[in-house]
């Protein structure tokens, strides 16, 4: 039996409430508000209280997918990454780096966003990077 409480930050909306994830035997079982958090002071909204539900949803993607014969099929990471890299390199070679664009995300972490724009700028060589701040 293993039971852990992990403090974290809610990922629904820009308020940034402090949550506690309850983890039993390696499974996420519940979400609680953090009582002493400066933003939400032990309260949450309906989305926050149910934050764990989307994480453990049956609908989650569990494997990389590749389109073959018009259908998305499960594949390995090696194949997925190689196909993506080859595809991007080919587009860059034929049409230049500005023919590639990357969308960062208002839902992923700062670290990930930093890397996404670094990828666009340093790896691809374009400033075609945006996200849905406007939407």
């Amino acid at each position: 039996m293993d039971f852990k409480i992990i403090p974290s930050t809610c990922s629904y909306c820009g308020t940034g409430c402090g949550v506690l994830f309850q983890v039993m035997d390696g499974r996420l079982v519940d979400t609680l508000p953090m009582k002493t958090h400066p933003v939400n002071q032990g309260r949450l909204c309906i989305k926050g209280w149910n934050l764990h539900e989307h994480v453990i949803s049956e609908k989650r993607l569990k494997s990389p997918l590749i389109k073959k014969d018009g259908e998305l099929q499960e594949t390995t990471w090696d194949e997925a990454i190689k196909t993506a890299a080859d595809g991007l390199k080919a587009v860059i070679k034929d049409h230049g780096p500005d023919s590639v664009a990357v969308l960062a995300s208002a839902k992923i972490t700062n670290e990930e966003n930093y890397l996404v724009q670094k990828f666009a700028r340093a790896v691809v060589g374009t400033n075609n990077v945006d996200h849905c701040a406007r939407l």
Binding site: M24, T36, R43
Partner: protein, 265 residues
């Protein structure tokens, strides 16, 4: 206290102990185990209350034989009594260490610094309900004013269900609050006053006046007062005060022969 728990863990009296630990300046619930007895030196009582018994209930549902130790304030102990009565926890598998607790109607004294009476803002006093108010004082309002004040409070509701989700004695698999024939979904505030009255009715014979619901309410609805009133009625009719004993509640005696001494309402 640490020594006692360590001993229990070592002797196998308990398998885990639910208490609190200070993590980066925040008192958070923590599960102590015999594998890491040294953790116990970090055990604190903490001035933030969480429903450790609700965590115990979740754990026990999946690990039926697990022996669980808990740090209990008075409210946690009352909740445990209710959970025993309703077969959510087996008292034989629970061991508690009691600590001083907060003030409540059921127990007058208390030194829990976290629950000092709230300073009630003036407008709430004028048109809403003082969160420190006792049932008797609330009944001084005339019928119309009482109604208006409660309507004000209920209309603030953002339907987070936090009152239910945090409640140590809410454990039903299906919740009437989400029964679409009873309460319309899809809007806020939830149907006023049905939503709150449905929950209040379900708190009859259940609520142990721990106040966690009110602590969790984003808009400061005086839920504790509402459920106190409901349970005052329960006490009047059934001569039963929720959470004070671990023997049968008049609400789970269906099918058994019982003798009640109803008092006139």
């Amino acid at each position: 206290m640490q020594e006692q728990i360590k001993q229990w863990l070592e002797q196998g009296d308990i398998d885990i102990f639910l208490g609190y630990k200070m993590i980066q300046g925040h008192p958070l619930p923590y599960c102590f185990t015999k594998e890491n007895p040294d953790d116990l030196k970090d055990l604190i009582v903490g001035n933030a209350r969480y429903s450790l018994e609700k965590m115990a209930t979740k754990i026990a549902a999946e690990h039926k034989e697990l022996k669980i130790g808990l740090l209990t304030r008075d409210c946690n102990q009352r909740a445990l009594n209710v959970l025993y009565i309703w077969n959510q926890l087996n008292p034989e598998n629970i061991k508690t260490i009691g600590v001083n607790c907060c003030p409540s109607n059921l127990k007058e004294h208390g030194d829990c610094s976290y629950l000092e009476p709230e300073l009630i803002p003036p407008i709430k006093k004028m048109i809403g309900i003082d969160n420190n108010m006792q049932v008797k004082a609330a009944e001084q309002f005339n019928q119309k004013e009482r109604f208006n004040r409660w309507m004000y409070e209920f209309q603030k509701c953002i339907k987070c269900y936090g009152c239910r989700d945090i409640c140590p004695v809410c454990f039903c698999k299906e919740c009437s609050l989400e029964h679409t024939d009873l309460i319309a979904t899809g809007g806020i505030p939830p149907e006023v006053p049905i939503f709150h009255l449905v929950r209040a009715v379900h708190m009859g014979g259940r609520c142990i006046d721990c106040g966690l619901c009110e602590d969790a309410c984003p808009v400061d609805i005086p839920l504790r007062l509402l459920y106190r009133k409901v349970n005052e009625i329960v006490t009047d009719i059934f001569d039963y005060t929720t959470g004070t004993r671990a023997d049968q509640s008049p609400f789970n005696m269906l099918g058994e022969e019982v003798t009640l001494k109803p008092k006139p309402i």
